[in-house]
């Protein structure tokens, strides 16, 4: 994604202040986050996830500059990026046929 990487000017904050979470069980290994990240936060796992893909994982969280390109480009809702607050982002991964739909009332 040569031109894309060259021209995408996303605002960047200081490194090391960001929590990054990847839902590895939901990742379909498209590689966008890895390709677009300007500071090499992501890398490929060497074992497959439940879907059969080799997912991305957060290899170097300390490099993250909070540009949010990965969050915007992930096609599978896998990535969360937030300023470190002391407690980690809670990003539960759930699979098909799993948890019930929030706000839906179940009848008797």
């Amino acid at each position: 994604m040569a031109l894309f990487k060259l021209e995408k000017r996303a605002p960047k904050g200081p490194a090391g202040k960001w929590d990054v979470v990847v839902g590895e069980d939901m990742c379909k290994a498209c590689g966008f986050c890895l390709n677009i990240c300007p500071v090499d936060v992501f890398a490929w796992r060497t074992t497959a996830n439940r879907l059969g893909w080799f997912p991305m994982y957060v290899a170097k969280e300390e490099n993250c500059v909070g540009c949010m390109l990965c969050y915007q480009i992930c096609p599978d809702f896998c990535i969360d990026v937030a300023v470190k607050t002391g407690s980690r982002i809670d990003s539960p991964t759930v699979g098909r046929g799993g948890a019930p739909t929030p706000n839906m009332k179940i009848g008797g």
């Binding site: 739909t101 706000n103 839906m104 009332k105 179940i106 009848g107």
Partner: protein, 413 residues
């Protein structure tokens, strides 16, 4: 309530509006067309949306609706085509408003996709198909009965049952429309009112009750707001329809679905969904039986007809009786699910219908004990005359077959 078999031995009309007519004493007596009756029946039943496209002979329903619905806080929509019309009705019903559309054959076939969508998602709605002679546009101003099977198989893919009713007079069209809305609410399914150009366009004596709000036999719209939205694997009646727009989380789609409504590709789901769509109707056939009979207890030859055609056929049966023939008459009002039980008697049947290819006659042949004794008198573009039906009945009684009559088709292959 008498079982269907015993009731068939008496003369008379089996339909809920027999009771309704007795109870409604306050009202107006008008001279009006069938289209007017169909419209007022819908308004009386609580219909608040009409979305359709003008087509002869149902156009007057659209025009009446455009005038009446704003008066009662409802919405008339003239859609760009019949596909849109029926889909818009389905959307309105999903959103909580009772809805109806009205068309003729060419529009009815365009509605098949939408019909299936409403069927599979258990959405109540009423569709009037005022048949005319075909195929396709045919003769615009002439009656036909060519959508008998189409109304049963009104969408693709199989795995469903349908409810189809047919009135034969203007007064009956009024009550039957209320009945159609009631059934669509109770069974959570679209209901087709299969009528014809004669019932739609003719003017007859019509009694209309004064106060629609006081009609306690109208089934009101209730809503189901909790999961499961689709009680698959059950055949229960009176499950309230689902509602979109109150954040219940319901999913509605064209696919085989789960109880929550999203798509699933498992045999188990297909079975459970089909169990519901088919058996909610089949297991409650007794609730759906509406018909009229005459002289069946001693009949040797029974004339069968529905809709406007039944008017002249019934007169012919009376005339045949007057001439000494033991003739009987069956008028199914519920066309689907087909009332097999009405044809249990081992005698001759003369099936009169307004098509030449033979549709009702095939069902009678299937249901009757001896299909060799089922005879076909097909006609198109005009009602059967009393004289020709009498000739047909006498021919069958005396010689076992219908004589040669001009423009009467007797072959069924």
């Amino acid at each position: 309530m008498a079982t269907i078999a015993r009731a068939a031995a008496k003369d008379g009309l089996i339909a809920p509006w027999v009771e309704w007519e007795r109870r409604c004493t306050q009202g107006r007596r008008l001279l009006e067309a069938g289209t007017y009756a169909l419209t007022e029946g819908a308004i009386a039943a609580g219909c608040r949306v009409f979305a359709g496209y003008p087509i002869t002979p149902a156009t007057d329903i659209a025009e009446y609706m455009s005038k009446r619905l704003p008066q009662v806080g409802g919405y008339y929509m003239q859609c760009e085509d019949e596909l849109a019309g029926m889909h818009t009705c389905a959307g309105a019903s999903l959103g909580g408003l009772k809805a109806m559309t009205a068309t003729s054959g060419p529009g009815y076939t365009l509605m098949h996709d939408a019909y299936g969508w409403a069927l599979t998602n258990e959405i109540p709605l009423v569709v009037v198909d005022a048949m005319r002679v075909g195929p396709i546009s045919g003769i615009t101003g002439a009656p036909g009965q060519g959508e008998f099977y189409v109304a049963r198989y009104c969408t693709h893919g199989g795995n469903f049952e349908t409810i189809v009713l047919s009135p034969s007079s203007v007064q009956e069209a009024f009550w039957l429309t209320i009945d159609a809305f009631n059934l669509s609410e109770r069974f959570r399914t679209p209901v087709t009112i299969l009528t014809d150009q004669v019932v739609s366009d003719m003017w007859e004596d019509l009694f209309v009750p004064d106060d629609y709000d006081a009609l306690d036999f109208v089934v009101p719209r209730k809503h189901n707001l909790v999961a499961p939205f689709f009680p698959l694997g059950t055949a229960d009646l009176d499950v309230p329809p689902n509602l979109v727009g109150q954040g219940t989380g319901v999913c509605v789609s064209a696919y085989t679905h789960t109880e929550e409504g999203y798509d699933i590709e498992e045999m188990e789901a297909q079975w459970a969904q089909t169990y519901r769509l088919v058996n909610k109707i089949r297991h409650h056939r007794a609730e759906l039986a509406r018909y009229e009979t005459l002289g069946l207890e001693d009949a040797e030859v029974v004339a069968v007809a529905y809709g406007a055609d039944a008017r002249t056929v019934k007169t012919a049966v009376r005339e045949a009786r007057r001439r000494g023939l033991r003739a009987g008459f069956i008028r199914p009002i519920t066309l689907w699910p087909f009332l097999d039980e009405l044809f249990a008697r081992d005698c001759h049947y003369v099936v009169c219908e307004l098509n030449y290819d033979g549709q009702l006659v095939r069902e009678v042949m299937r249901a009757a004990p001896d299909k060799g004794k089922v005879h076909f008198m097909g006609k198109s573009a005009e009602l059967h005359t009393v004289a020709e039906v009498v000739a047909g009945l006498e021919g069958v009684a005396r010689a076992g077959r219908i004589p040669e009559l001009p423009y009467i088709w007797t072959e069924v292959r």
